[in-house]
Symmetry: C2
Subunit: 596 residues, 2 copies
């Protein structure tokens, strides 16, 4: 099997770090305890390992193709999508009233990880459909919800998000697509959207495009953007797909990776106008899109975890099999499998530690989302929501940035074979490269982390998390041994570094915005390194308490945490130095434009 | 122009950091001063910018192809190679007596950088030919030198290095190719070699394969490997290519990058035996290969510098052109070109600082090689040779590892467009990935750095370099201002970190080899970061003294050095922590094989 879901590790994070037992106490989640999680995860693991994972290489070699406006997915994908839909997997986290399964986001997070680890290109179709569902549930009318959501959940139809235009990438203020009211409540849309993931394909009977556009009298900038539903086939009164709408795929991109996922250029209204319907109120499109984007950004963060794990699994398998050179300590007279060489071990441990830390942080974020939605106490809900929102840009930015490093190490472990496409390690390196770009680049995540998530509340959420980290640091002190000593030392330094940077950001953002934003991505990475390290420390404390029950499994948790403490956490101090000691912008902005 | 050689920057490094004026005082290099360097570099810049750079994308889209044993290079390559050869560029650093130009390696380094920046795939052919020339000059008989070297220098023929076999990658002890003596002084070779760069092609009349193989009674392991010349066409008495030899290209690889460069599987002796001639003495093949590999490893390090610079140039051009979003400091009411955004500026500054530092370190290494070859004083020669040898694995390992990060940042600067192959930024990300692998992986470089270069002399060379760094730290103290304060502080910390790691390596390598080798790559990176930072500091001191002469140019040197100090040098302390405080192997080796 080319991908084996790390079910035991996932369940460990669910039960020991993300409080699945407490989530099962929330109203509506009574059935969603560890047992349910295990059953769901094991079932998903089967589909992902047996059906989707083998198609991953196929999709890379035989990408989706375009001809005369028609996009044909990689052979095998349409059938796999039918199996995925039939299993109810699109509905895992969506409401029962629209025929979803109504499970916690925490369990869905594990399913999303497996889906993406097995086949990143394939998984993008459900990922974008999730986004469309979220947008409709957030802002759609009851009729819109009834018309579209069950069809999206059943997999009969799929969804897309249409934001980007050639001149409007990160800057949505520049969106130009027009929506002209027709007097009957409908609109006609005209414009070009690019980078539309799964914007056209043959896996479903209809495609529900959610499109940002401007109405004729809309104000300029982001305050004049509205959200529209534009289905590929206009939906009849009875809910069946009717006539072909005036939205056409004029080409798909030739990309570095995720080749099976068609990235479409969509032309709206070249033949009289694409019929669309307003979602929610006019000019509030960006606001709705942001709600949906938080979900999509979290999911892209999971993609980072997923591709890291896939790359790790492949590298471990190769390192155990490939025989080359004697060990430096003279422990064998013959060449040994390369996993016995210290540097290969270091690379694998790095891959493993980063994967585990980013997974744990993401799942913890998902659990905050569940508490934020279902906790009976208003104040608690708000508190969890604030933590979730603080964590989303970190999960998105950090998990995806590190996935490139992990995939790159995966190639390196394979040596020369890693550079040969048939080996397969290179695909992860290529695929991962999109993750820190789409759904908001790392810089966009970092701006969000600074602006909406740190400065707006004066650093309160960050401080609350720091206080929790400080408690963990205290708990580490109670244990003996090198592993705990290392984690105590480095997490403590990491805590201090993050605290100092948060204070710097809050104190200087108004007075010297360039200084603060010059350190935005380093701040995001620092937060990831420290919050990820905190999860590793929590895991280590649990593992120590349970060690006797399963010495190998819990021992590995402690060893991986120690490695993280010694090889990843030290970056925190270096990042702090770049942001704070350097007083931010001086070094970054000292070169003028023409000096570059 | 898609690549403009950074001539001014190169000449700055040559004259201010690498002592070109002193090199011109060495016997045989009297003509090789700054003026010659400038003339040579400007001429090379033309060929590279005008002829080779435009073929780079073409090679990626239309790779070299194999049919029935014949390899056809990308259209345009053969003609470009003729121009390259006609210009005398293959002979830049080779002896005049074999029709080379006899210029210092320092000037050659700049030429190698330009060649590789303009077209990495193309440049590999001359790079391997250089290796073959070095091997023949080192160990060949006078007749062999006369027969082969002038033809290789003229570009009539090209050369290859045949080390790797399917079971023998990093571990050459496992080489199995057989060489059977024929009684007439010749041998017949039988075996399979893989990963042979430009192992077969249509750009030259003959290909001179240098092949590692075992004679019948050779001892096992690396002590039983000999070096053979196996030309594609057996060479006639008169030096002309004669009958086709029994070495055939049975396939070429489908690779992640450097696609125009054919990577051949060569089959020796399937039709009776490939005629070969011993180079030097039997069983000393590895020793000769190592001499040649030092040159090749240095050149691969230059490839890292080169691809970094190319990626940097492309990213800067895009960042100046692409308009998106208003600046965070409110300095403009409209969207501005993205170079005005702090994080884009940070990414570009990172790319620039790493490129400049790795270039400076590599050129400085090259100048030590020149002094080592030509200095009239024996002791001085030995001293420079030792420094050169210490620097080679660092130049190779560090410059190539960072080139991946730089190329990856280059993609990121382009946002979504970076992921589209037509943009071209992705090619550098793919191409760069081979650099830390071939000619010895980073781990192999790091083992060399520890074993032969640090431990063997008890850390003496490293300490000598540290003493020089300490002097630079002192000199920085004499200057005021934030830039100098930052560099003083961080270079001082970097010095201490490197000193502590060198001491740790020397003290523990026998007692606890795993602990030391678990930190081998971190040590290599630390040495790169600190020695690169040292060059930036030296550049800064020169720039300060000359600032009035050219305020923009020298000001940029100071600003780039400050950025390096604040954003790159802090890694030194983190790397030291991973190696020393962690006591090395504990965290790395704590997980047993079956726990992965």
């Amino acid at each position: 099997m080319s991908y084996t879901a790390p079910v035991k590790d996932m369940l460990f994070v669910l039960s020991e770090l993300s409080g699945i037992a407490d989530i099962a106490k929330l109203p509506g989640f009574e059935e969603a305890g560890l047992e349910t999680a295990q059953a769901v995860i094991e079932e998903s693991a089967k589909l992902c390992g047996e059906v989707l994972a083998p198609l991953n290489v196929e999709g890379d070699r035989n990408p989706s193709s375009w001809k005369d406006g028609v996009v044909t997915a990689t052979p095998g994908f349409a059938d796999a999508f039918r199996q995925f839909a039939a299993g109810g997997w699109q509905g895992v986290q969506h409401p029962v009233e629209y025929e979803g399964q109504g499970l916690p986001k925490l369990i869905a997070a594990a399913c999303i990880e497996m889906l993406n680890a097995s086949n990143l290109s394939f998984a993008l179709c459900p990922l974008l459909t999730d986004g469309a569902i979220e947008a409709l549930l957030t802002a759609g009318s009851e009729a819109q919800k009834r018309t579209y959501v069950p069809k999206l959940i059943s997999g009969e139809w799929t969804g897309t998000m249409n934001l980007t235009e050639p001149q409007a990438g990160s800057d949505l203020a520049l969106v130009r697509t027009r929506a002209e009211p027709q007097g009957d409540g409908s609109y006609k849309l005209f414009g070009t959207k690019i980078f539309i993931t799964w914007g056209e394909h043959d896996m479903a009977k209809n495609i529900v495009h959610l499109v940002l556009a401007r109405t004729p009298d809309a104000p300029e900038g982001v305050k004049g953007i509205s959200l529209f539903i534009v289905p590929k086939f206009v939906v009849n009164e009875d809910g069946s797909p009717g006539e072909r709408n005036d939205v056409h795929c004029v080409s798909i991109e030739h990309k570095l990776g995720i080749k099976a996922s068609p990235t479409a250029v969509l032309q709206f209204g070249d033949h009289g106008g694409a019929i669309g319907h307003l979602v929610g109120e006019e000019n509030r499109g960006l606001e709705y899109m942001f709600i949906m984007m938080n979900a999509a950004r979290f999911a892209v963060g999971m993609q980072g975890v997923a591709v890291s794990d896939r790359a790790y699994q492949k590298a471990v398998a190769y390192a155990k099999e490939r025989v080359q050179s004697r060990p430096v300590d003279g422990s064998a007279k013959q060449a040994v499998s390369i996993i016995h060489h210290a540097d290969v071990r270091r690379m694998l441990a790095t891959m493993r530690a980063l994967t585990e830390a980013s997974r744990a942080l993401a799942y913890v974020a998902a659990s905050h989302c569940d508490f934020a939605h279902r906790h009976p106490d208003d104040a608690k809900r708000a508190e969890h929501q604030a933590i979730y929102e603080y964590l989303v840009p970190i999960v998105k930015g950090w998990s995806t940035e590190l996935s490139i490093d992990v995939a790159s190490l995966g190639v390196q472990v394979h040596g020369g074979m890693g550079f040969i496409e048939e080996t397969g390690a290179a695909q992860y390196y290529r695929d991962a490269r999109i993750l820190p770009i789409y759904e908001g680049t790392t810089a966009i995540q970092a701006n969000d982390l600074i602006g909406r998530k740190t400065v707006r509340d004066g650093g309160a959420v960050a401080q609350a998390l720091l206080a929790e980290i400080a408690q963990t640091v205290e708990a580490l002190k109670q244990h003996d041994g090198a592993a705990f000593a290392s984690m105590h030392r480095h997490l403590s330094h990491g805590h201090d570094a993050l605290q100092s940077v948060v204070a710097f950001v809050v104190a200087n953002v108004k007075r010297d915005p360039n200084a603060v934003f010059a350190g935005s991505v380093p701040y995001l990475k620092l937060a990831g390194v420290v919050l990820g390290g905190w999860q590793m420390a929590r895991a280590m404390l649990v593992a120590q308490a349970k060690r006797e029950d399963d010495p190998s499994f819990y021992g590995a948790k402690i060893a991986t945490a120690q490695f993280y403490a010694e090889h990843v956490l030290p970056q925190a101090v270096a990042l702090e130095a770049s942001i704070v000691s350097a007083k931010g912008a001086d070094g970054v902005l000292a070169l003028s434009e023409d000096q570059f």
